[in-house]
Amino acid sequence: MTATTGSGHHPRHKLDEIIHAPVRLSIVAALAAAEKAEFRFLRDTIEVSDSLLSKHIATLEEAGYVRVQKGFVGKRARTWLSLTERGRKAFAEYVSVLQEIVTKPTKGAVDAPH
């Protein structure tokens, strides 16, 4: 089950709070565009420290959104990350809620005099 940001009627309450955090959103968005991505690539793309990236990856892994694979290329250890089916589905839902928010007219705009 995905965690949402609240229980109101506004679409923002349907946003998955696991994804809707700056660093985690960047991780999931990058992995959605990739079949798999390396830890260092994500770190450089998102511009965060190793420790912060690791912390958020652990949260996403715990939620079942991200798969972590460790391997070696020569003597060099490499960590590859990919989205699970569950993560891909959660991201697709997240994007559709965002679209709903962007297209939904705000109260101020509706009430504004012409």
């Binding site: 660093v23 959103l25 960047s26 968005a29 565009a33 990739a34 079949e35 991505a37 260092r40």
Partner: protein, 154 residues
């Protein structure tokens, strides 16, 4: 880079687009490699089918050098762009089947005279070279289309 925790829908879309573009751009080395592989394949099988000594030996040495360089070059990407990765699997399967075809027909092409060995040899070259050339072209076309898109919202 992110510092705060508040995230508007526009900011979220902007970040999704920025990161998506960065991942897609990372596929450029792979697309370029596919093109190089297509050209190298065409040259290799042309020499193997229709070349004479010592050019066929040189072609084998050249192919070994190309394969070794490819192994190092293809280790570099930090991300495998989803669409190109999936296309690569199909391209690789066709490429391997075409390579096997060429291996099998090489004796026939070399040992027989007439038009048919030439036709078989040319077909072999085309079926081996076209898949990687197509993969490279598709990858670079996707990148060109990406450059034409409007820039990501910052």
């Amino acid at each position: 880079m992110w510092s705060g925790n508040d995230l508007s829908a526009e900011q979220a879309f902007g970040e999704i687009r920025r990161v998506d573009r960065q991942v897609r751009r990372s596929s450029r080395p792979t697309a370029v490699w596919w093109l190089a592989c297509g050209i190298a394949t065409a040259v290799y099988w042309s020499v193997m089918h229709f070349g004479r000594e010592p050019y066929d030996t040189l072609a084998v040495v050249g192919w070994v050098v190309f394969s070794t360089a490819s192994a190092f070059y293809l280790c570099r990407p930090g991300a495998y762009e989803r669409r190109l990765y999936r296309l690569a699997r199909v391209v690789m399967a066709v490429f391997l089947a075409a390579t096997l075809f060429n291996v099998l027909v090489t004796p026939y092409v070399l040992e027989n005279d007439g038009i048919w060995p030439v036709v078989v040899g040319v077909v072999g070259i085309l079926v081996a070279a076209i898949p990687p050339l197509y993969g490279g072209w598709r990858g670079l076309k996707a990148l060109r289309d990406l450059d034409r898109e409007e820039p990501a919202i910052q």
